[in-house]
């Protein structure tokens, strides 16, 4: 099995196998723990696509998540027990755009990586398992529905998006999950769980040659060839939002407020998308972060607490910001936020702001490597969206004040803002 090494430095190895599997290894000496993620670019938004038989499929929501459950609890093996026996922890997550399988341990890691590749790539399903997992997933969905934060985010996304599948809950609904059949599972598995659509990422005190040999050997035994990029379809999504306000009621002591900003998608990936994301994150930080005038004004007036936070989530065909927190008075909070946003848009940012953000980012890019789980998540998530985390530092260094102020102007469009609150 051919292996092409794309980049090799003291601590960073990028490679690609002939079957298309992307491999990234970050060597960090002195740590006991090793962490690996085996991920596929298949998430809750991928319901409309051309399958491995070249047929277009439109399927119910929640399959990526359902598949994740069934891969780990399939009839031939019990994944959790097998990893436990090796002393390695296993976790799995499905997001909007990827499904990832994480292992971490301090020993038997070579065996664990082999096992991870085999469990994910040699899966089969049966109806008994499917029925069992359906019941477990129902409990998981109910657990989500009890979470005010989960409901808040779901409401914002349905306010912002007309038809883009980003607005659907990641696990689907009880009804949609009941429609999932064994044939659908196999179809999605055989389409998306191909090495060309996947990445294996390792971090820790790893013998790079040993693990590269192991991975090459493992893949060579399998009949998996390079497959072309999967065609995925997304409905045309207008720039306008659906509705500007939604209020839900749940038994909460303090109302929860969230504000969503819909962005025009960039329609490209790579460094352009990364720069776009960085600029938007910087802007959000300067507007809503703890050092900002708006945050401090709201806090000093008792309208927000320390849990007030924000994030920008984007891929090549969607982008939205989510700002949220607890508040005593969602209406007053919103009024002040709107005034604050207007003020920022008129004033713009200064060189002092930019210098401060650059120094802060420099420090963050150093310290983030101390948290393997976080850095692994970041590198893999960016890769799955067509971006490279290793280019982050260079992009930040070269940002100009004009870049930020230009992005600010395009970003803060008041017609594309929606709010969602949860009241008691």
């Amino acid at each position: 099995m051919g292996l092409v090494i794309e980049c090799s430095s003291e601590f960073n190895y990028n490679a690609q196998l002939a079957n298309g599997l992307k491999i990234i290894i970050h060597k960090q000496t002195g740590y006991q723990k090793k962490h690996a993620i085996f991920a596929t670019r298949y998430g809750s938004i991928d319901n409309d696509f051309i399958d491995f038989n070249h047929t277009r499929q439109r399927l119910p929501s929640g399959i990526a998540h359902f598949l994740e459950h069934n891969i780990l609890a399939n009839p031939n093996r019990d994944a959790y027990s097998e990893f436990s026996a090796l002393g390695v922890a296993l976790k799995a997550y499905t997001s909007h755009y990827m499904t990832s399988y994480h292992i971490s341990g301090t020993r038997n890691f070579d065996k664990a990586v082999n096992k991870l590749l085999d469990i994910v790539q040699y899966s089969c399903f049966d109806n008994e398992c499917i029925n069992k997992q359906q019941r477990i997933i129902e409990q998981e969905l109910h657990m989500c529905e009890d979470s005010a934060e989960w409901v808040l985010e779901k409401n914002i996304l349905s306010n912002l998006y007309h038809s883009h599948p980003i607005k659907n809950g990641i696990g689907g609904t009880v009804k949609s999950v009941q429609k999932i059949s064994i044939d659908m599972l196999y179809l999605c598995y055989q389409t998306f769980y191909q090495p060309s659509n996947m990445i294996l990422y390792l971090i820790g005190d790893i013998d790079v040659n040993q693990f590269l040999d192991l991975i090459v050997g493992n893949q060579a035994k399998k009949d998996l060839a390079y497959t072309p990029k999967i065609t995925r379809y997304f409905p045309t999504e207008p720039l306008e939002i659906v509705e500007s306000k939604k209020i839900s009621e749940m038994p909460v002591v303090l109302p929860l407020y969230s504000l969503g900003i819909k962005c025009k998608p960039l329609e490209v990936d790579g460094d352009k998308l990364l720069k776009h994301e960085i600029l938007t994150n910087v802007i959000n930080y300067l507007i809503f972060g703890k050092s900002s005038e708006l945050f401090n004004e709201l806090y000093e007036n008792g309208l927000i607490l320390d849990d007030f936070g924000m994030g920008y989530f984007c891929n090549f065909n969607y982008g939205y910001s989510l700002i949220k927190g607890s508040t005593v008075n969602p209406n007053e909070l919103h009024q002040r936020v709107v005034v604050g946003l207007d003020k920022v848009k008129r004033k713009g940012f200064t060189d002092t702001d930019l210098t401060r953000v650059k120094r802060m980012t420099e420090g963050w890019l150093i310290t983030c490597y101390d948290n393997f789980y976080k850095i692994a998540e970041k590198v893999v998530s960016y890769y799955m969206k067509g971006m490279y985390f290793e280019n982050y530092s260079e992009i930040v260094k070269n940002i100009t004040l004009s870049d930020i102020n230009k992005r600010l102007y395009e970003y803060l469009i008041f017609d594309r803002i929606a709010i969602s609150t949860i009241n008691s």
């Binding site: 529905e145 002591v253 008792g302």
Partner: protein, 441 residues
């Protein structure tokens, strides 16, 4: 038990070196070249008591302003300019101690592009101001800052109710530990909070500086010369205090308390509190931890197997051992229609452990899991600090290698004996209201 290779490895690891500051408090330094973050953690320790609310409020007010950085915005800007340093203040309880923690994280100066950076001295300068030069008016805390932080803390106390899982846990502890200090929340309570004014809080602050047990931990790729002299700036002319050791009074409940409460939720939250009543608990600490692990930690545990894999009653099921309070909490998210069956299965699992129905495989996997989590903890600065602090709070001084060795020595007979001393204290169930069950289609 094949722990030898692991123990040998762990013995090679660095341990904390203790220094005494000019102000007589201990400073523990762990030099770790692999970390890119330098952490400085300051702990104020006191007993959990009626002053808990004052202790919960104080750090928040200290973080609002110093005599130079008079607003939170300026503190945050100073930290950002200091290469994204982070300063966080929290209150937590460990056993029946109430701990105020100030944690300063800075990037290791060796990695910054400007070789003449003064990231440590600037960071400690900010920390010093927060701890001993707070913003004051007329010799006490600013009234507006105190009132604002009271409002924030009040809402935080009340908003625990928003998270049904946290709420159910809180209720279980309140019911199980009624009358014990442990029932007091680390955030304090609303009734006491409303009575606090800025003068009273300032008096408590003075009292805390003198009367609490204080220590500093430093961990990172840093030499003592780079940091210890700087820490002498943090000086509040303290008296020296011996270690405050909490001797938990334990009680055995002869009839299990069972409480069901109702709320507008879709999934029921079950919490079961188990108590350990064994003489010389510290000597049985390993058995206690392994017991909890076998019972409910992870996908090979007894409870995961029976509640999730065999009967699909729960998606989430776990145990949490608190060795400082000597309790184990069992948690499961279930449908109310399965309540009785779940409780019965939990009791069965506990009985089977009393009878020693544990395989060597179960024992091995559980011990390995515990060892792995201890070893992982050393990969994080926080993990090493909390391990050391946890030992200090138990008044023991085992190195990580010794601790792991003891875990490896635990036998099935030890677990069965431990099981005899573990009683089912309280069952608490937060149930969906009738007709509100999540099992509707």
């Amino acid at each position: 038990m094949k722990g030898d290779a692991c123990i040998k490895h762990v013995r090679k690891m660095n341990t904390f070196v203790k220094y005494i500051s000019l102000d007589s408090y201990p400073i523990y330094l762990l030099h770790e070249s692999k970390f890119k973050t330098v952490r400085i953690m300051c702990f104020f320790r006191r007993k959990l008591d009626e002053k808990a609310t004052l202790a919960a409020l104080l750090p928040r007010v200290l973080m609002r302003g110093t005599n130079q950085l008079t607003r939170k915005a300026y503190i945050e800007q100073a930290l950002e300019n200091n290469y994204g340093s982070r300063l966080k203040a929290t209150t937590r309880k460990i056993g029946e101690e109430h701990i105020i923690e100030f944690s300063l994280n800075m990037p290791c100066r060796k990695y910054l592009t400007n070789p003449n950076n003064d990231v440590y001295s600037e960071g400690i300068n900010i920390l010093k101001q927060i701890l001993i030069q707070p913003f004051t008016r007329d010799g006490v805390f600013d009234k507006a800052y105190v009132e604002q932080e009271k409002a924030v803390l009040s809402r935080e106390i009340r908003s625990v109710y928003n998270n049904k899982r946290e709420w159910a846990l809180k209720r279980c502890i309140e019911i199980s530990c009624e009358g014990e200090p442990f029932e007091i929340s680390a955030l304090g309570n609303i009734e006491q909070l409303e009575k606090i004014d800025n003068k009273q809080l300032y008096n408590f602050y003075q009292y805390l500086l003198q009367e609490s047990y204080f220590s500093i931990y430093i961990i990172g790729n840093i030499e003592k010369e780079e940091i210890i002299p700087q820490l002498h700036k943090i000086c509040f002319k303290r008296k020296y205090h011996p270690n405050t050791f909490n001797n938990n009074a334990f009680r055995k409940r002869y009839n299990t308390k069972e409480v069901i409460e109702y709320d507008d939720i879709k999934q029921g939250k079950l919490f079961v509190c188990l108590r350990c009543n064994i003489e010389g608990f510290v000597n049985s600490l390993s058995s206690f931890l392994v017991y909890s692990s076998i019972l409910g930690s992870g996908s090979t545990s007894k409870l995961f197997n029976v509640l999730r894999k065999k009967y699909s009653l729960a998606y989430h099921v776990a145990t949490y051992a608190d060795e400082h309070k000597r309790i184990i909490l069992i948690e499961a998210g279930i449908d109310p229609s399965n309540y009785s069956k779940t409780v019965m299965l939990i009791k069965e699992a506990m009985n089977s452990m009393k009878n020693g129905n544990i395989t060597e495989g179960e024992l091995r996997v559980s011990v390995v899991k515990l060892i792995n989590s201890l070893r992982y903890a050393q990969d994080f600065g926080l993990g090493s600090v909390y391990f050391h602090l946890g030992q200090v709070l138990l008044d023991i001084e085992l190195s990580l290698a010794q601790f792991i060795e003891r875990l490896c020595q635990v036998s099935i007979a030890d677990i069965a004996e431990m099981a005899q001393n573990i009683s089912l204290d309280t069952i608490y169930f937060l149930s969906p209201k009738e007709g509100y069950s999540g099992s509707s289609h």
